[in-house]
């Protein structure tokens, strides 16, 4: 991140001077910082509402139910890990937390699963571990609350009208990720 950020700042100063837009760059630095705080404030309400609803789902056991519902699908994706009960439990908890958009819950659960999967092949990523990581790099969140909050803050009347498009795009992206894992695992042997 250090390289990227410094590079962005240096590139904009150089480019701004080259195109004669130096003063605009100077003004933009101030504006950008203020806009960041404004953005954060404008999405705060909806974000908090949703993390609140997620907590209710967790406490009422709805989140657990979802994770039990998922286990038949997950057994197919992780054939080598299917016999490891605890690994499978962590994986399904991780996937269902991702579905619900519980990012801060999903990561510890996913890391727990990764730790168990990595035990069998230290140093090298196994097929199951690659699959787990790829599933976590593809977004499978059912209700993209942060983006919807941003749209609502910009005066959108129906911030969730993008849901079908988001599901379509997510499904295709996850599908290709899983497919890529299955194909690459044949070619790219450990």
């Amino acid at each position: 991140m250090t390289v990227i950020w410094t590079g962005m700042v240096a590139a904009s100063i150089l480019c701004g001077l080259a195109t004669g837009q130096g003063p605009e760059v100077a003004a933009a630095a101030v504006e950008g910082a203020a806009a960041a705080v404004q953005l954060a404030l404008s999405i705060a309400g909806m974000l908090c509402l949703w993390t609140g609803v997620m907590e209710v789902m967790r406490q009422s056991g709805l989140a657990d139910r979802l994770s039990r519902l998922l286990s038949p699908v997950l057994r197919r994706l992780f054939p080598q890990a299917a016999k490891d009960r605890e690994a499978m439990d962590s994986i399904s908890a991780n996937v269902s937390a991702n579905l619900l958009g519980l990012g801060s819950a999903a990561t510890p659960l996913g890391l727990e699963a990764a730790r168990r999967l990595a035990r069998r092949s230290p140093g090298t990523a196994s097929d199951s571990l690659c699959m787990l990581v790829v599933c976590n790099t593809a977004s499978i969140q059912l209700i993209p609350t942060t983006v919807a909050s941003v749209r609502a803050a910009e005066g959108c009347a129906a911030p969730f009208d993008i849901l079908p498009a988001v599901w379509l795009a997510s499904a295709l992206s996850v599908g290709v990720g899983i497919l890529a894992c299955k194909v690459f695992s044949r070619v790219w042997r450990a």
Binding site: E31, L62, S173
Partner: protein
Amino acid sequence: MDLFFTMLVPFTIGAVAIYAAFRRVDVYSALVQGAGSGLETLTRIIPALVGLMTAVYMLRASGALELLARALSPLLDRLGLPSELLPLMLVRPISGSAALGVGAELISTYGPDSQLGRTAAVMLGSTETTFYTVAVYFGAVGITRTRYAVPAALCADLTGFLAAAWAVRVCFG
């Protein structure tokens, strides 16, 4: 159909609350407790947002993005991706809060209900911070040979971007 998706959110909230109340969960205090953790998330992302949106604003004002976008636009056009979304696609795999900043800018500039604004929102909603996730997972369990994880994840990201542009065209015409 539109009404269904608009009402989906209040229905979800209502259904969760009723189910939880029957399971004897203290719904209101759970809600408030969860909302508090949302605030924590927010305070964690604000510093990153300030840093990145400053850099993004500077980069935009300098004209550098236009130069890059102009160079890549023939390729993007062929793929059906508007070149205005290029900055978003470039930062998305690297930083979640930066992508949120860039995406929020696009949504505010072009309007949340414009084709571009919607595509930006769908891209944000259907992809993840790939490099961060890969680094956290493999770092945490001490894996150095990651084999095909990164290429496979990037295939998924690229598909997500193309699919976002396509899905918005299909769903909103």
